[in-house]
């Protein structure tokens, strides 16, 4: 299923210079926007009746430690009108905060908590930004690329006296 070309034109015209970049790959439409504009864009798409991108399918992030703007927060919107999708991305430097989308969707609550927990992105104005998946005593954010996978050597009778080895 490819993207809606009219919606593409509409978004480009309406938001103009707020859109930093447009990417089309395998029939999927992606826009990159700034962190200060994103909630305005999402809200006006939410309220817009013509294309009705008012369903937040997913909110997630990716981590690029080598880039200057390390985090990418990804919003995937869906329209019940023509069943098309559009994706928005915001790039953030390490430690930068992004306004919360909970003001528009209730589902953003848990999804943002998950991104906070696993990536360490702070959402400004979130009602309850606490860890959700990882244990309370775990430090760091596991889905960051420089958080390495570890393996604990299982203890058997032959090595039970040695301290657990973590590699």
């Amino acid at each position: 299923m490819s993207y809606n070309k009219e919606a593409e034109k509409f978004i480009e015209e309406k938001f103009g210079d707020k859109i930093i970049e447009k990417i089309i790959f395998r029939g999927e439409l992606t826009f990159i926007a700034g962190k200060d504009d994103i909630i305005d864009i999402l809200r006006s798409l939410y309220e817009d009746e013509t294309f009705a991108y008012n369903f937040l399918t997913d909110l997630t992030a990716t981590d690029w430690p080598d880039r200057k703007e390390r985090h990418e927060v990804v919003y995937l919107l869906f329209s019940f009108k023509d069943y098309s999708r559009v994706r928005f991305k915001v790039r953030l430097r390490e430690g930068e905060r992004i306004p919360t989308a909970t003001v528009i969707w209730d589902s953003a609550n848990w999804l943002e908590r998950e991104v906070f927990d696993l990536f360490g992105v702070h959402f400004e104005g979130h009602p309850n930004l606490t860890k959700i998946l990882t244990p309370d005593d775990l430090e760091g954010h596991p889905l960051q690329k420089d958080y390495s996978l570890t393996y604990e050597i299982p203890q058997f009778s032959h090595n039970k006296d040695q301290p657990p080895e973590v590699t």
Partner: protein, 380 residues
């Protein structure tokens, strides 16, 4: 309440604030089963992620496999031969029945109809038999692979599936006889855990929960994948949005799934079961043993994997629980740079406070059951 509670379907903890029997506030606490599947996937070759996906929603392994395979196939721009597509449709529909059977059994047991779970698990055994027939595994089948299927369907596949299709409708009707007009069942479910349509949309609810509020959204019709557009079926919806409506939707879906599975085996095309994509799809075992080129391809796939183009794709499919989506970011290396699973149970469970608050303590169990969660997928 919980985490070790038999009616939370795994390890879910719900912090309840009560005023007598009334619930003022309910806060689900999750993460007890967090295994870091998304992180693990980043360190594995594309092929080797398939078995990980089984272990999220372990009641619907085939749906999880299908979503992942479709996402990678979209990334690679692969065409899948019709036989594999039909087999995938048939097996994912049986998976839907499998998942719904466990749901109706456990949900009814939570509410007090103990015998339902025994009957439902008895019927589920037939579907697990089909899993074993095709893949050798009863639960973690990993039968769908990138580019097609693990191996060809066995020669008695159609016959065995036909047996299941012939058996199940009368059994499902039996369950309906037990539950639908049962006064206790009605009293426990009607008007309990009502979710309004606007709330459901704002909470990104998908699957039977959304369809019970009157939105006929089903990805099999909305964005047909794997040739679902060639099958004839209906999307059952209800408008009440309560637990009973969700029950009715799931029961009606089972009949539709049987209808699709019947069409799939009747119209099963001939031909290859894997895409013709050397370097991506493993050659058949006989060739690997007899031909030099096949051995080289096999060796390269296992050791090095394949290099998909840089880019990102999202594919969502209709799993029994709702929309399960795979968002894969590739940086051109043989391992996924990022594999995100859009978890239907996680997002549906987030609306549990809405269902519970203002209700009675006894209905918390009903509400958890009717959301239909698998904690393996909620936590991943």
């Amino acid at each position: 309440m919980g985490p070790q509670h038999p009616a939370t379907h795994g390890v879910l903890r719900v912090v309840l604030e009560l005023d007598g029997e009334r619930i003022i506030k309910a806060e689900p606490v999750i993460g007890y089963l967090h295994t870091g599947i998304e992180k693990t996937a980043e360190s594995k070759l594309y092929h080797k992620v398939v078995p990980l996906t089984d272990r999220m929603d372990y009641l619907a392994p085939m749906s999880n496999n299908l979503g992942y395979c479709l996402a990678v196939e979209k990334l690679l721009d692969l065409d899948i031969p019709p036989k594999a597509q039909w087999a995938r449709v048939c097996l994912t529909e049986l998976t839907r029945i499998n998942s719904h059977l466990v749901w109706v059994g456990t949900h009814a047991m939570d509410i007090g109809a103990m015998s339902m779970s025994l009957y439902a698990f008895r019927e589920r055994e037939h579907i697990l038999g089909i899993y074993e027939l095709v893949s050798g595994q009863r639960m973690m089948s990993s039968y769908f692979r990138i580019g097609g299927l693990m191996k060809d369907l066995p020669s008695n596949f159609n016959r065995e599936v036909q047996k299941v299709i012939d058996l199940l409708p009368s059994r499902i009707r039996e369950y309906e006889d037990l539950l639908t007009d049962n006064r206790i069942w009605r009293n426990r479910t009607t008007g309990v855990g009502i979710l309004a349509r606007e709330d459901a949309l704002k909470s990104s609810i998908t699957g039977p929960m959304l369809r019970a509020t009157g939105v006929g959204y089903d990805l099999r019709k909305a964005i047909p994948y794997s040739s679902y557009d060639k099958f004839d079926f209906e999307i059952p919806t209800r408008t009440e949005g309560d637990t009973f409506a969700r029950y009715e939707v799931r029961m009606a879906e089972m009949y539709q799934s049987l209808k699709i599975a019947q069409q799939a085996i009747d119209g099963m095309p001939e031909g290859p079961f894997q895409a013709n994509a050397p370097g991506i799809v493993s050659p058949p075992k006989e060739k690997v043993l007899n031909e030099m080129e096949a051995l080289i391809f096999h060796f390269k796939i296992v050791t090095e994997g394949f290099h998909p183009p840089e880019g990102e794709v999202y594919v969502g499919i209709e799993s029994p629980k709702g929309e399960i989506g795979y968002y894969i970011v590739s940086d051109g290396s043989p391992k996924p740079y990022r594999m995100r699973v859009r978890p239907p149970c996680f997002i549906n469970l987030a609306s549990l406070p809405k269902l519970c608050e203002g209700g009675l303590v006894a209905d918390v169990i009903t509400n958890i059951g009717s959301v239909d969660i698998v904690l393996g997928e909620v936590d991943r």
